[in-house]
Amino acid sequence: MELTLSFAIGVLTASGIWLLLRPRSFQVIIGLCLLSYAVNLFIFSMGRLTLGAPAIMPKGGFIDPTRYADPVPQALVLTAIVISFATTALFLVVMIAARGFTGTDHVDGKEREPQ
């Protein structure tokens, strides 16, 4: 399971970075999305991987914390998802505005001159 997850994070990150460095704004935003998925998975994995363990402990009595999943990364991931979703949406609007202004989808607002 660890191997699968780390492989998934690695592939997502690699594709995200590659896309982020591309000149088209659409590629940039997809790259940022992929990167944020990778980061969210990474945060999640930092609470250690557990199978079928609840994150919320019952009230009262002695409990063995090893039988529960770490709730903190799950809370963090939730916050991170919301924030990156919102900022990505905002970025999309700016991108469309830039497309309207400059008439091109190049991130610099102008096409590179032909050699």
Binding site: L32, L35, M46, L76, I83, T87, G109
Partner: protein, 544 residues
Amino acid sequence: MIQHLIIAPILIPFIAGALMLLYDDRQRAAKFWLSLVSGGLLLLVAIRLLIEAKAAGSGGIGFYLLGNWAAPMAIVLVIDHLSAMMLVLTATLGLASLIYARAVWHRQGQHYFSLFQFLLMGLNGAFLTGDLFNLFVFFEVLLAASYGLMLHGSGQARVRAGLHYIAVNLAASLLFLLGVSLIYGVSGTLNMAHLANLVPQIPEAEQPLLKMGFALLGIAFLIKAGAWPLSFWLPNAYMSAAAPVGAVFAILTKVGVYAILRLSMLLFAEDATTMAGWGAQVLILLGLASITFALFGTLASQSLGRIAAYAVILSSGTVLAVIGFALAGGGGWMLTAALYYMIGSTLATGALFLLVEPMSRDDGGIAAMLALTAEIYGTGKDDNVGAETPDGPAMPAGLTLLSVCFGICVLVLSGLPPLPGFIGKLGMIQAALANAVAATFLIWSFIALLLLSGFVTIIALARIGIQTFWGSDETASPVMALEVAPALVLIALLGVMSIKSEAVLRYTGNTVEALEDRSRYAYGVFSASRTTAPILPGAGEAQP
């Protein structure tokens, strides 16, 4: 009641900003007064907190446990000398920029005042929080607001620079998250005080992961602070932002500097065992590189806005280098002077951003911008553009005042006596010379760059000044009172800073002492009583 004052700097702008969203956007006057009340309250609260921190001496530190949960479960707010200082600086700059915006800019788009309040909320939260993840959340709040403000007024240049600004900062936020989660994965906590206790105990085998986490975090902060290889987005973004926005952005880079200062002094200060002084060399080198970059940038710039943006990089580069020296064991006096310099240069760059527009109005700078705006909003051809003159009465002898303000800004930024720039630089150089035994090459290059930066700044700014004030023959367009007044206030504050330099330096000295005395912060959070007390002298009795 008084203990709840700590959270007021977050709540006041939040409530004001949210309230203003309910108003129709045409109620601009009401919105302006509401923001003014909020800004004024913020300044009062910040000054009150500053006075309390000052009265409590160098050990004074206050905690606020949100929801009254015990640390480290609770999200904790911390107020000490450094935070109080940054709060006052934010409120001052915010208020000045707010009044300036009343002249023209608030009419150029929607929700200006709400976004501005949310920006203040994010800034204050970032300065107050004692928790890494909350730091992330407040960073996002202030960034989201800054995206809106950056694009305020729209126009091609702004949207293009904004696109880069947002893309870079989104990537930086992802790095921030990676760093935070790595640190959590290794240490199991996000509370800064808890981390300070745990870091020396992390086993050798896990230290590389922890260092990687902090390095990622550091990259995110350095991007915000505008350190050299990570600052290419900054000049364009700051230059194309609206003038009042640029002024308040002057403190945005200082958030990154603040976070680096806070975390590195807390976690990697001299006595913190195996990871002591970690990253000091990198900070020094990046700081020196940023100063050099800013030097060339300043010389190459043709417009005042761009020079102001490079002045921002110059100021944060200087402070970053000094943080590096302090981490490497360079003594507190250098950092004391650097904090003093930071306050002075932040106020001066803020004032400079406010001066850009009245100074370049003759060149058609603002007219061109307004024409562009009108075009975007489809508000017709020329009639509407001409009507967009600033509100309020014209300032008598406006141009003279403007040139005096500009001259004083030049003096501060280039570090000529008798203004704060000089005192700060003198202090830093004095301390560096006293300390020149260690790492001599770096120290000497720092001193050389510091002196050179003053020289270069004066060349570049004098050129602009001559072109603007002496070089034009036509009668100048009137200068509005509302536009000069905020800059005048900021400049008056700079004057007060140099007259009262001893008191300010004593305060920053206490700040550095408090930063170096890590145990107060590290253990104080845990001994903070559940019902929380106001700042008490020596509230954090060390209890390992």
